[in-house]
């Protein structure tokens, strides 16, 4: 039906085509802006926080710059140095804001009030132009300040350092968007009310503040790693986010062994992401995983990070020790080749550093593997009376495992049943019930 009249494009068609072309260009520009935002937002917010003193205002200024980009770039094209453009735009607004504040402060002073606020802002331009790395680090320390609850620290970190939207964070943690938004707003307010300064802590305070940062990153990682509920792709995204933050941090504080220790731990654990979930979503335990599915690139990176931590004298740091245990598994080509005696020694060190019944239980498992189930069982039996483990399903699960290896099927079965009744995870319950059934079958034949 391609008559000649159809090939002549009417003015309205042309207008539509042009509109379509503009729309396509706009959509492309928007995608580019979103990617640029992900790359630049943390640095942008960090530089602005240093200048204006608080995260909430800095975020607003950065958002204003983003809106300006969304308005201008689709027609003007993305500038050659988009990061500098965003910073320049936000800086103008920051300068205005600081001037307004100063005028206000002067007025307050005239009124006889003391303006303790912001002696740090002398020259806004200089304040923004200083070292970007230090700015980022300052922002990390601020967002992970111990004055905030763990949840608040995690949310704020993902928001201002990860550049994630509130929706994405809410999805990652399976909470309603409104609650997450509130959590972030409250976190910023708490920092403001507690007069938390934008600074890089030094001396003895630094140790505690850094521990708080590492904890936040590890919490994000674990939220992604240990969750078997929720939409599949969202949770590994949290692991990736945590890894990215950890890698950034390790480069910002390259002489801090524990930063490398944490990166090592996360890299090695992340290497097993594909191997630890079966085809129908069931968890696969470490010793039963198909090691060919482990990501050897991440293992190599993890071992390198661990070496870096050890070279810095940090072999006995809590993250480095856990990484060293993970490394024992990573180095073993098969489960049978695992260096269990070394794992026992490493758990000894962990237990000395931070004694806890859960660590003792893990140590008992390693002892059972290294020196036989009877030795392991002795240690587990000593933990049975431990009040904090009374509802911990892994205690009877481990005990059941050791009893089963010793041929005590009937006792093993009741332990697995107990473990199954204690776990809140449906998939894990199924696994434990299967173990119990296997023990029952063994008891009949044996």
């Amino acid at each position: 039906m391609a008559g000649p009249s159809r090939s002549v494009r009417s003015p309205s068609t042309r207008a539509r085509d042009e509109a379509f072309a503009i729309e396509t260009a706009t959509a492309e520009a928007h995608r580019a802006i979103e990617a640029i935002w992900r790359i630049e937002s943390a640095r942008l917010i960090a530089g602005l926080t240093r200048a204006v003193g608080d995260i909430a205002t800095a975020e607003e200024l950065a958002q204003d710059a983003l809106v300006a980009a969304l308005e201008q770039w689709p027609t003007s094209g993305v500038p050659e140095r988009p990061g500098a453009w965003l910073m320049g735009t936000a800086k103008h607004r920051a300068t205005d804001l600081i001037r307004r504040r100063k005028t206000l402060e002067r007025k307050y002073e005239e009124l006889g009030r003391d303006a303790e606020r912001d002696q740090q802002v002398e020259d806004p331009d200089a304040a923004i132009d200083e070292d970007v790395g230090d700015d980022l680090l300052g922002l990390i320390f601020m967002a992970c300040h111990p004055v905030l609850s763990k949840d608040a620290r995690v949310a704020l970190t993902l928001r201002v350092l990860g550049g994630l939207t509130t929706e994405e964070i809410a999805r990652g943690f399976l909470v309603p968007v409104s609650s997450m938004a509130q959590r972030i707003v409250r976190a910023k307010r708490t920092l403001d009310e507690a007069h938390v300064r934008f600074e890089i802590p030094r001396g003895p305070e630094r140790v505690a503040r850094l521990a708080s940062v590492l904890e936040v990153i590890y919490l994000i990682f674990n939220e992604g790693y240990s969750a078997t509920a929720g939409t599949d792709w969202v949770r590994p995204a949290l692991c990736e986010e945590a890894l990215r933050l950890g890698r950034i941090l390790a480069e910002l504080v390259p002489t801090e062994p524990e930063a490398h220790g944490l990166v090592a731990l996360m890299e090695i654990h992340a290497s097993r992401l594909d191997a630890r979930v079966g085809p129908s979503g069931e968890p696969i335990l470490l010793l039963e995983q198909d090691r060919a599915l482990w990501d050897h690139l991440l293992i190599r990176r993890g071992l390198a990070a661990l070496e870096r931590a050890e070279r810095l004298g940090g072999a006995m740091g809590p993250y480095a020790l856990q990484a060293a245990i993970a490394a024992c598994h990573a180095r073993a080509a098969t489960a049978a080749e695992t260096d269990w005696p070394r794992i026992v020694a490493l758990y000894d060190a962990v237990a000395q550093l931070a004694p806890s019944p859960v660590v003792e239980l893990n140590r008992a498992v390693a002892v059972g593997m290294a020196f036989g189930p009877a030795a392991g069982l002795d240690l587990v039996n000593a933990l049975v009376a431990e009040p904090s483990l009374r509802a911990y399903h892994l205690l009877p699960a481990v005990r059941g495992d050791l009893l089963r290896k010793l041929g005590r099927s009937a006792e093993a079965r009741s332990e697995f049943e107990r473990a199954a009744s204690l776990t809140e995870n449906a998939v894990e319950r199924k696994l434990l019930e299967r173990r119990a059934a296997e023990c029952a079958a063994e008891g009949m034949t044996g």
Partner: protein, 115 residues
């Protein structure tokens, strides 16, 4: 998402003109920025195709072909392995690379393929 960035520098890798110190410094600065952003997982430069070998498969037959090869524009001279959140992010990083020639290709690595 993991992407492979393939540097196709045309005949440059075979002409054996080493990059100027300034160019190297610029590249290093850029690479450092990528590392600091937690983007780089790995990187490597390939030796010239004159030192490379190819194996061609035809049914049961295998033929080894010595380099150099003619299709210079398609020859890979180096690679990066990046961890990014989207292909767009990879493109935005790549556009910042301090190169004034050659073609760079960004390809997503399919996950869950095993190692």
């Amino acid at each position: 998402m993991r992407v492979m960035v393939l540097a196709k520098e045309g005949g440059q890798s075979d002409t054996a003109t080493p990059p100027t110190p300034e160019a190297m410094a610029e590249y290093q600065k850029f690479n450092e920025e990528l590392v600091k952003a937690g983007v780089v997982l790995g990187a490597g430069r390939l030796s010239p195709s004159s030192q490379g070998k190819r194996v061609r498969f035809e049914g049961k037959k295998r033929t080894v072909i010595d380099g150099p090869w003619a299709e210079t524009k398609e020859l890979v001279a180096g690679y990066w392995l990046w961890q990014v959140r989207s292909l767009d992010e990879a493109l935005e990083w790549l556009k910042r690379a301090p190169y004034d020639g050659g073609t760079f290709e960004v390809r997503e690595i399919s996950q869950h393929e095993g190692a």
